[in-house]
Assembly symmetry: C2
Homo-oligomer: 187 residues x 2
DNA sequence: AACTGACCAAATAACTAATCTAGTCATTAA
DNA sequence: TTAATGACTAGATTAGTTATTTGGTCAGTT
């Protein structure tokens, strides 16, 4: 990512999270970024792709940081709990520092829903941890793909709650559900 | 429930599911029911309460029928799978016969979200099945209240999917998640 | 090769007038 | 006495119109 793209993404991040997707115009993003509007269209084919790429870059940052943070955890089940908890905590922190209101977060989430490619994001870490658990003899010989889908679906539902509730409020409920599911695949 | 209330609820059911909550006026419900508008306000303090009472009566019907249908199932884990599957199937059938479009279902669901009392509905059956499972020695000595909340939260999330997707489409995903959770509390 | 901003069709907002609706209540019917 | 009624009203919603803004383009600049 070059300096121009960074300026654009930074401006887009600030404006989208402060005013929402619809209420932020491409002209405003260009002005905030200090570039011409045409420049934005040289890098992204339209406003939705810009938004999508912003989301992807945020996700990559979070996932890479979490991967570093849990690199010392060796046991698969612990890794899964830590991974999910830290991702949630980091996203929550990003939400807070962006200053987005619940209404804005809801709108951004709905826009995500319309953009397919943002939804099936890279969760290779969780899959690897499940495979690791089977190798370590902690988990039964499960269908990793199916198990991943189940955990991912359920945990994904909490995304919605994060938009309106505090991290600490959701944490307890989420952990007891996750524990129940992980216990279901333990040997 | 007397004959007047039945006429009102029947009319409300037809119109709400055909046109949605907002697009159905109290005047229209009164006309469809063949009663004066004032009569509706003699039975329900406002339009929202009428909607809520309609929802409650539908839920009661579904739950009572499911309870009858699974009365011969003795094993707790089977009862839980059957209960959730049949409730889902019955609601799905009711949705289909009402002729409501996905957009209408979404609006009705959102109205439900605003009315608190509809949400914490009576799920005593599931709690009793969990207690039964502990007594039968099928389940560990779990915190029934907490376990119920977990299952209920996760299964409740599928409600949203039911509004847009077909029963059969959701069934498989839901069953593998439910199986994982139930396996988590087995002895 | 990367960037720019004036430009345009189409979407959205702003404004107004006209219509509709939730809820009330004095009256009627049972 | 109790249940039912429908005309009524303040406030919300809609429809129709105009004014403004917006996403995206592209000929020209750096």
């Amino acid at each position: 990512m070059n300096s121009t793209e960074l300026k654009i993404l930074t401006a887009a991040h600030q404006l989208f999270f402060r005013f929402g997707f619809k209420k932020t115009s491409v002209d405003e993003i260009a002005a905030e970024a200090g570039v011409g509007k045409g420049t934005i269209y040289n890098h992204y084919s339209n406003k939705e792709e810009l938004f999508m790429k912003l989301g992807e870059s945020m996700q990559t940052l979070v996932k890479e940081q979490v991967e570093r943070e849990i690199s010392h955890v060796t046991q698969a089940d612990e890794r899964i709990f830590e991974r999910i908890d830290r991702e949630m905590k980091l996203f929550s922190a990003k939400k807070l520092e962006s200053g987005a209101t619940p209404a804005i977060m809801q709108e951004l989430f709905e826009v995500c829903g319309h953009l397919k490619s943002l939804q099936k994001y890279n969760e290779i870490g969780l899959i690897r941890d499940l495979e690791l658990g089977v190798e370590q003899g902690i988990f039964k010989k499960i269908d990793v793909e199916q198990t991943f889908k189940s955990i991912y679906t359920v945990m994904g539902q909490f995304m919605l709650k994060w938009l309106f509730m505090d991290y600490e409020e959701v944490k307890l409920e989420r952990n007891s559900i996750l524990k129940m599911m992980i216990d279901g695949i333990r040997v």
